[in-house]
Symmetry: C2
Subunit: 144 residues, 2 copies
């Protein structure tokens, strides 16, 4: 398992029970994906058939509070979770309004904006950026 993750677990005195490990493994198995709690539950049940939805919710919430996971909402009124980036910089998301796929990108050109905010007295510690539009595949299909 990722060394940084192990460190964070230790830092927070978070005992990794079998159930919690199953949840974390699901997230590690799905790098780059954004899973809802229900999706995590279904995959975790393959590793531990008796795991309960409440345990999954508690675990996801806790891992997010430790910055091991990142929690956000795209569409549909429920939260989605993904593994946090290993450096503390977060990537951004592009949501395709046609197929619903969520793409990620790394470029971070927000420094200018953050500088302006800090010039106005804000201290910025995090940000969240989402683009909405159409992915190359859907644009291709729409041309036909």
């Amino acid at each position: 398992m990722d060394k940084k993750i192990t460190e964070k677990l230790k830092e927070n005195n978070y005992k990794l029970t079998e159930q919690r490990e199953a949840v974390l493994e699901v997230m590690l198995d799905n790098r780059g994906k954004h899973l809802s709690a229900e999706e995590v539950l279904q995959e975790a049940k393959q590793k531990m058939p008796n795991i309960g939805i409440a345990t999954v919710y508690r675990t996801l919430e806790k891992l997010a509070s430790m910055d091991i996971l990142y929690k956000t909402m795209f569409e549909g009124g429920k939260f989605r979770y993904e593994l946090s980036d290993e450096d503390t910089h977060q990537h951004h998301h592009i949501v395709c309004l046609k197929c619903g796929h969520i793409y990620e990108f790394e470029e971070d050109l927000l420094n200018e904006l953050e500088s302006r905010l800090e010039a106005r007295g804000f201290e910025i510690v995090d940000h969240e950026l989402k683009f909405y539009g159409y992915c190359p595949e859907c644009r291709e299909k729409m041309r036909k």
Copy 2:
């Protein structure tokens, strides 16, 4: 009332009943604020004591779909609504992690990022940017 809003209502054949007008007036009275559905209900009840929460939800949803309102989620697991900007550019938000206040700012330096995405085949039609940190007032208080 705002001319652009009236146009959009007409375009969408959206009849402005007294109840819907009360909801819209609440939003107009609260420019720059981000109200939850419950907050809108409480203020709308001052204009129309009998208005129901279901009507408020239906109206907020409809006005958001017409780009008269903007719907987003900050914290707390419920949606908040605000009047959309009159040009189609949306402003951005800064959420203070201490007092919870939501600030707005206008600067739009995302063109470079959007250009890069479009160079990769995406068609971008909207974006959402939120910064999290501490506002000048809370930073002041934390220094004492």
